[in-house]
């Protein structure tokens, strides 16, 4: 039975016959004609092909069975892998569910009030560059008291920085990083993160800075504060405040002094 089946499958290979020489004699002539130095090699190749073909004819049925079995196993394994990947995802975030965005507020570019009002009675404000484009920057300025004109009364208490540590003397409508690269006011967080790495790391993991909205982003979005929402960049320590909402309950009266 198996012999019969293999000859049956041999017909399947009939299309190969015109492509390959049938006898060794024929092959050697072809090989001679093609190139004499590679003759031996070509002959060996031909022998191998012949042997493989023969083996295929003999065991084609078995080969198909094995191939099918392997394919099945492969499919099952792939399926399992896919399923285990699905399971690895936390229970309440399912595949295909788009997460809502986390929106981090961005600081606006500051505008400076001139103290003038326009024809409609509205206060006139200008960009920083309106004055600074024509003013020579003082690169050594490190505290507010040394400011001769404008920005009077600015409270500065932020390490030993100079104005141009953060402000960009090339374009006062922007800021600059420590390497001199320009950065927009909207991306202030990038600037602050240069020195305040631990805070930036905690912020990235949701453990620094206030937020509102959803803990579960599959259900809704989240709004997060940026650095300057809570910290005045010129005096970043969180200010002292008066507490609200004094409790009136009976418990926890101040402990008696012993």
């Amino acid at each position: 039975m198996p012999q019969e089946r293999s000859t049956e499958f041999a017909h399947e290979f009939a299309f190969l016959a015109p492509l390959l020489p049938s006898t060794e004699q024929e092959m050697s002539t072809i090989a001679q004609r093609v190139c004499s130095p590679g003759k031996e090699l070509l002959l060996i190749c031909w022998h191998i092909i012949q042997a493989v073909l023969k083996a295929l004819q003999q065991y084609f049925a078995a080969a198909i069975a094995i191939a099918a079995a392997l394919a099945c196993l492969g499919a099952v394994a792939f399926d399992k892998l896919r399923k285990s990947e699905e399971n690895a995802i936390p229970a309440n975030t399912s595949i295909g569910m788009t997460n809502h965005p986390t929106h981090v507020r961005q600081p606006e570019s500051p505008r400076v009030l001139t103290g003038e009002t326009n024809f409609a009675g509205k206060p006139v404000s200008v960009n920083c560059s309106t004055c600074h484009a024509t003013t020579e920057p003082n690169l050594e300025l490190r505290n507010a008291a040394d400011l001769k004109e404008f920005h009077q009364g600015l409270h500065f208490n932020h390490g030993n920085l100079s104005c141009v540590s953060c402000h960009n003397p090339g374009n006062y409508d922007t800021l600059r990083l420590a390497d001199g690269k320009q950065v927009e006011f909207a991306n202030t967080m990038q600037l602050c993160s240069q020195c305040h790495g631990p805070q930036a790391r905690d912020f990235r993991h949701g453990a620094h800075g206030g937020m509102t909205g959803h803990w579960d982003l599959t259900k809704g979005s989240r709004e997060r504060n940026t650095c300057t929402d809570c910290h005045d960049p010129h005096s970043p320590a969180y200010p002292t405040v008066m507490p609200v909402f004094k409790p009136k309950d009976r418990n926890f009266h101040p402990p008696k002094a012993h």
């Binding site: 509102t212 803990w215 579960d216 259900k219 809704g220 507490p243």
Partner: protein
Amino acid sequence: MTDQTLNSPTEKNGGISRRTALKGIGATLGATAFATAIAPLTEWARDLSVDEFLQKHYRELSPVDLQLVLGRLEKETKAQYGADVTISDHKPQPGVQFGYALNLSICIGCRKCAEACHNENNHDRATNNSYIRVLEMSKGSMDMEKGTVNYDHPVPQKDKYYMPVQCQQCDNPPCVSVCPVEATWKESDGIVVVDYNWCIGCRYCEAACPYHARRFNWTKPQIPKEEINPNQSYLSNRIRPQGVMEKCTFCLHRTRNGKLPACLEACPTGARVFGNLLDPESEIRWVLQNKRVFVLKEELGTKPRFYYFFDK
């Protein structure tokens, strides 16, 4: 004998004997005394409808019964407070275990969380009730019993730190084990809740809680109609009746819908971190894995779900 009876003056005059009169007076006095004695009880039961009296335990209510109860409670709120509210039943979500962490390095003790809790959870306005107490602690001390809550000066003070304390949603909650009527229990997402309509107000749980996290409604909460938060849940912020216990529920009417708790949203410093403990990508998991975290009164074995940490 017969003679005496026949000749008795009362029978003759058709009047009342001294004995009968005394009996009558005695009965009247007795009835009056009884009525006076039970007067507080009748006053207490005045608001109690038959439906409410016969209501089953929350966990034994069928979905149909529950809807009837919610409808009745909404109507009662309208009648007693004049406010249109929606009282829902927010169920725990599968695959969610809530956890909360608080950064003591950042908290400045401004008490905005306590205020937000007060407004969100429809607390009695007169008593400034809130599920959160912010303790002002001396640096170096970790004993919450030595904290003060009545501080009234600019914060933060140099030599102090501030520790807000609310329900720790313990995994081994003493308040639940002491309840004689099973009116309080732990839900599958970790939140300890109270069925306000099943609570008998014995206050055992208040005594059992090592974190002083439970509150008792000594009076019926008084809230102006326009200040009532209309988004309510049976197990959380619906207006509580008089004489029952209440506690922080991690704002389950918000958090079971994916929202952040009110105290977290109110925090101006971002000291609070909330999330799903089962989600390895969540903020709370990052804090637990990367910060020096501790729980209050760990030695009691209550296994809190509320963690505290310092930055440095």
